[in-house]
């Protein structure tokens, strides 16, 4: 459903993503792993329309996303969980979630979606009147994911959901991601945390310095010496 070909993205004159091609099929969970600074966030922001595309194409169900402004990308069924959560800290949990269904088609399903999010994250129902900024990091991550789900996406973009979380909480977050995928949502998961990401993904890409250096089934990619090289600078 998502097809990226020869994508090039830059911040000003600093090119962060070079010639990246990748695919996400319907209902598929795909992960892009890579060390810090490899261009993962740039890649996902470009898909979400937050960064201009310098070259190449991003297509959703065959139609080009390049001319679609960022606030309309969500109408095409794509929702982004940004790196570092980026909640509205001075709004309550429920208000944060409601922002997620701001676009018209999703707004009609507001109460159903809210029910669904609360069923997935019971703790958020308890905390719904609390300010988002006062939650723990793990709970904030749940709100961020919940907010994306409110848009009833067909494709969920997740940018490093494990960042800054304690290991036990990371486990919970990955369980939730696997659960969302099981409900039929396609997921593009960008992660640094290889082991966890590979455990739930059907296919994996390795990004290094803005280029895809390996791809395939996680079990194969995991054995690829280029992973070690990308992360540790040496294969031995």
């Amino acid at each position: 459903m998502l097809e990226i070909e020869h994508l090039e993205v830059a911040h000003g004159d600093a090119v962060a993503v070079w010639d990246v091609s990748l695919k996400v099929r319907p209902r598929e969970l795909v992960t892009v792993v890579g060390p810090n600074g490899a261009g993962k966030t740039t890649l996902i922001d470009a898909i979400a329309g937050l960064l201009p595309i310098r070259a190449g194409t991003v297509r959703l169900d065959g139609s080009d996303l390049a001319p679609v402004p960022a606030h309309e990308v969500c109408r095409h069924g794509i929702a982004l969980v940004p790196e570092g959560r980026r909640l509205f800290p001075a709004m309550t949990v429920e208000e944060n979630l409601e922002i997620g269904c701001y676009a018209r088609p999703a707004r009609k399903l507001r109460s159903q979606s809210l029910e669904r999010v609360y069923a997935t994250f019971p703790i958020l129902r308890e905390r719904r009147r609390q300010l988002a900024g006062s939650l723990s990091g793990g709970q904030q991550q749940m709100v961020a994911i919940g907010r994306a789900l409110m848009a009833c996406p067909r494709l969920l973009l997740l940018d490093e959901p494990s960042l800054g979380l304690a290991p036990q909480i990371v486990d919970q977050v990955f369980e939730v991601v696997a659960g969302i995928h099981a409900e039929g949502v396609a997921v593009l998961l960008v992660e640094q945390n290889i082991v966890q990401a590979f455990a739930i993904a059907a296919r994996a890409y390795v990004l290094e310095q803005g280029r895809i250096v390996a791809e395939g089934a996680p079990s194969e990619v995991a054995q690829d010496p280029r992973i070690r090289e990308a992360y540790l600078g040496q294969s031995g």
């Binding site: 911040h11 004159d13 600093a14 090119v15 060390p35 810090n36 600074g37 490093e160 540790l232 040496q234």
Partner: protein, 573 residues
């Protein structure tokens, strides 16, 4: 620019003396009043610009300080029978004290910048009494050279000259350069050694002093002082408009704007079309701001530059030789020693007790997965954040509680992942600023000379007079580096110098880092591109979850099971 030019300060004083003779011509009273108003606005707009234009802190509360002067003179002269001339210094001082007092509080609050500062100053414009106003008609005005009105003319002229000379002196000074740096990027200025708090405070105080002084004079001019007239926001808005029209970047900009606007107002208003004409002035202002973002003065300068582009350029400051390699400290003493350094943000423990040592003359690679605390550590060491606990010693001296500019003065400099140049200072001035405020505290000309040497060292010599926006990413990174080096640090912290560079650019950058170390400067660099780390670092320290999990020779450390686990997970270890 062929004829030798009069020094501007002399020009201002000469113009002042010439204008002082105008009353002797016995022109109709109208001209004296008109010129009085010009001087009045020149003083107000120029004084506003000393804080708001130079340092970028937009104040809408200038009327409050002006008003403090007005009421000081009014009260002293009527209720306490103080002679008028004696009330003037008091008017200036009361305004300056009020301003500095407010500034001392406001500038301590970290978040108060930009619009917030503007709004806060707006709140200052409260009406202090709702009374009937003060009559000053009975207060005697000493006659110096003619009628009492002429005395006010001379006094306001004196204040206008004083404010223009002050604005010029600051513009040319080390202090002025510091204020410009604050306007462009206050955090970076602080890290380069600019005492930002003190500089802003003094600029605010001086700005208020002049406003109070002219306020005291104006009290006698209007002779009937009311709160509503004195403390109007409109007064500040007019001063801002004049400064913006003339050009806030230039010392003479506000004065130019004041002359233009006052003349236009005088010739266009009056009669029934007053409001229409006021709108016309507004329209002129909009046109100027859109087409001349740096004001009329900026437009004039641009034309002059274009005219003098090739041969007539002013000779660059003579190059000043770089100091020899800094004397290497005793190898036994570490340059930097962190002991159990902690920092938490809202419950997230970014640094959970970091202990590490950096040895003299080494290149230390600081690495770790995303969110492991590398940037936090750099920010804590350079003084941008204050640590929650632990000791940080730079050459044996505890710096954990010092402000960033003090740490810079002790020999620490840094660069940024995304280069943070002062956008409105030329490349050479960006570097000169560091030479002036870091380390030895040089004057402006010596600083520029030294800056040229550092630009040559980093290969940017040809771009010395360009603005940072005209450089490409690699050049901006090198500018950041040249700026860090110009403060002659013993230790530089490089935050991801390589990110965003192409492969050839990376080779250049790596060579430069080696060259820096070869001069005897100790280097810490944060980097994600592991091949570069292996290539460049003498030693690496690995952070994970805010703690040091390994340190040692690069190739050994990268095989350490704990490190492999941190980067790749248990399965790989």
């Amino acid at each position: 620019m062929s004829a030798p030019r009069l020094p501007p300060a002399l020009g201002v004083v000469a113009a002042g003396l010439a204008l002082a003779l105008v009353p002797a011509l016995k022109l109709p009273a109208f001209y004296e009043t008109f010129l009085y108003l010009v001087f009045f606005w020149v003083s107000l707009a120029t004084s506003w610009n000393i804080l708001s234009g130079y340092a970028g802190y937009f104040s809408f509360g200038h009327a409050a300080f002006f008003g403090a002067g007005v009421y000081t003179t009014a009260t002293l002269a009527t209720a306490l029978d103080v002679p008028f001339l004696w009330t003037l210094p008091a008017a200036g001082l009361v305004a300056a004290l009020l301003g500095s007092g407010i500034a001392a509080v406001v500038f301590r609050v970290h978040g108060v910048r930009g619009e917030l500062f503007g709004l806060l100053t707006l709140a200052l414009n409260t009406k202090i009494d709702g009374g009937p106003g003060v009559f000053l008609a009975a207060v005697p005005i000493p006659t110096l050279f003619g009628a009492p009105a002429t005395t006010l003319y001379h006094l306001s002229l004196a204040v206008a000259v004083l404010s223009a000379v002050a604005a010029l002196a600051i513009y040319r000074s080390r202090w002025g350069m510091g204020l410009f740096a604050i306007r462009d990027d206050e955090d970076v200025a602080e890290v380069l050694g600019v005492p930002t708090y003190r500089y802003k405070l003094v600029a605010f105080g001086l700005s208020c002093f002049i406003a109070g002084l002219i306020g005291g004079i104006h009290a006698m001019f209007v002779t009937y002082v009311t709160v509503a007239e004195t403390f109007s926001v409109g007064l500040a808005v007019d001063a801002i408009m004049m400064a913006a029209l003339g050009g806030t970047r230039f010392w003479y900009g506000p004065a130019l704007g004041a002359v233009i606007v006052t003349s236009l107002t005088q010739s266009l208003t009056g009669g029934e079309s007053a409001i229409l004409n006021r709108a016309l002035i507004g329209a002129i202002l909009i046109v100027v701001i859109v087409f001349l973002p740096d004001g009329v003065a900026g437009g004039l300068r641009r034309r002059r530059r274009r005219a003098a582009v090739s041969p007539g350029r002013a000779a660059p400051a003579a190059r000043v030789e770089m100091p020899r390699e800094p004397a290497r400290p005793q190898p036994a003493a570490p340059v930097l020693a962190c002991t159990d350094v902690k920092k938490a943000f809202r419950g997230l423990q970014a640094l959970a007790g970091v202990t590490l040592e950096v040895r003299a003359g080494e290149i230390l690679g600081l690495i770790g997965p995303n969110g492991s605390g590398k940037s936090t550590l750099i920010n804590v060491v350079s003084g941008y954040y204050r640590s929650d606990g632990g000791r940080i010693a730079l050459e044996g001296r505890d710096i954990a509680r010092l402000r960033a500019h003090r740490i810079a003065g002790l020999g620490l400099a840094r660069t940024y992942q995304i280069p943070r140049s002062f956008r409105r200072l030329s490349v050479v001035d960006n570097v000169a600023l560091a030479a002036m405020f870091g380390g030895r505290g040089l004057g402006r000309e010596t600083g520029r000379g030294l800056a040229r040497s550092w630009l040559a060292f980093t290969g940017l010599e040809a771009k010395a007079d360009a603005l940072p926006d005209e450089l490409n990413l690699l050049e901006r990174k090198f500018l950041d580096l040249a700026r860090a080096l110009a403060s002659e640090p013993r230790l530089v912290l490089l935050d991801e110098v390589l990110s965003g560079l192409t492969l050839t650019q990376m080779t250049d950058a790596l060579a430069l880092v080696r060259k820096i170390r070869d001069r005897g400067t100790t280097v810490i660099f944060v980097e994600h591109i592991m091949r570069a780390v292996l290539d460049l670092a003498d030693r690496v320290v690995v952070l994970s979850y805010g703690q040091v999990i390994a340190e040692g020779l690069p190739r050994h450390v990268m095989r350490d099971p704990g490190v492999v686990r941190a980067y790749l997970g248990k399965a790989y270890a």
